[in-house]
Amino acid sequence: MVLLHLSDKQKEKISLLNTFDEKIIREFCRISTESINKEINTKAISNAAAKLNIQPPDLKELIELITWIFLENARLDLNVKELKESLLLVGIKEEIFSEIELNAKTNQNQLQNLIDKTKIETLSYDNLEWRVDIKLATRSLLEIVEPEIVFKFDLKKGDERRVTKVLQTDVVNLNYLTNSLENALNEIKSNYCRKVFRNIV
């Protein structure tokens, strides 16, 4: 079981969180989710802080704490039980937890996708188009019949950048390529791989 580890400072903030009711927490969660995509609106924070009768920096820290919980929840891929255990352990109120949990669950996927974009970038396969040509003549050689397979590989680097490669091959190599990659695909179903996957999870 994986647990969230909160620092002492964060634990103090949790007790501050406990002084608010669910409605306000819900608002906190909304601001916090928004802050992932854009900067926190300091003016809105000051207004809200005035209404709640606390200092704006304190409120900002609370929002940041919730954001941190959301991010860690996504990063560690916690399940509800793990999240609950972690937060109840540091004394969060049950009602407040359910509010945070609800939001954490909704944005978990979105955040994981966001985090995914920061991973080590390699070219990844996106699409393949192929064409079969018969070469009939070239400048230096007439009267030939030579089948050629032309491939257009679409590869993706990161999220946006696309790389297109046009390659070709002959029949023998096409069959070899197909067989090799088919073997690669079958390998994942092998007893060995299954055993490893089962034991790692």
């Binding site: 990844s124 396969y125 393949l128 002959d170």
Partner: protein, 201 residues
């Protein structure tokens, strides 16, 4: 099939038994045909004739160069059109070669025609040609900012022969299982369509 007047006169010169004896002709023509050897650097013809052999032929260097160039051009033209042995022999006959000389030429021509055509075929432009593939299956467990990924990932490396380059280059990319399934499916489709094509013709 057309040869320039320079080459035609050089051929005429070579056909004359008084100017170029049969033995010299045999030596020269054998050296020319022997320069077409399949080695690791196909298409890189080294047309420099062995000076030791050339010493034995009683000709000035300029004359020899002209004759050699004429024969290389003749061979390229004959092979380009895939001219059969009979037509090649008729051509030489028309240009005054003796039966003896024709015989030695056609014997070597028949033996080397396909290799010469191979040389000619390699002098064309093409897309990078896939000649080999290697793959690796990884199981991604976690990244610095995302845990519990537990996802198999394939790394594919295509080895490419780029026209005009003696070294192989490679194209590396990664695939998830679904992406590899897609890739293999498309390759199989291509293989099948080539097979069908072979059955028709």
């Amino acid at each position: 099939m057309e040869l320039s007047s320079n080459y035609l006169s050089a051929l005429k010169h070579a056909s004359n038994d008084d100017l170029l004896s049969f033995d010299s002709f045999k030596l020269l023509i054998k050296t020319i045909f022997d320069s077409f050897i399949i080695n690791s650097k196909l298409g890189k013809l080294n047309p420099r004739l062995d000076p030791k052999i050339l010493e034995q032929i009683n000709k000035s260097e300029a004359e020899l160069k002209e004759i050699t160039a004429a024969f290389y051009t003749l061979l390229a033209e004959l092979a380009r059109h895939d001219v059969d042995v009979n037509s090649a022999s008729t051509f030489l006959e028309d240009h005054g070669f003796s039966n003896e000389k024709i015989k030695i030429f056609t014997e070597l021509y028949q033996e080397k025609l396909q290799i010469i055509r191979l040389f000619l075929s390699s002098s064309t432009s093409s897309f990078p040609h896939i000649v080999d593939v290697s793959w690796r299956l990884d199981y991604c467990i976690k990244e610095n900012n995302l845990e519990r990924i537990n996802e198999p990932i394939y790394l594919i490396e295509l080895k490419l022969e780029v026209p005009g380059q003696s070294n192989l280059t490679s194209l590396k990319f990664s695939c998830t299982v679904e992406q590899l399934q897609d890739l293999v499916f498309k390759l199989k489709e291509a293989s099948k369509s080539v097979e069908k094509l072979a059955q028709i013709s």
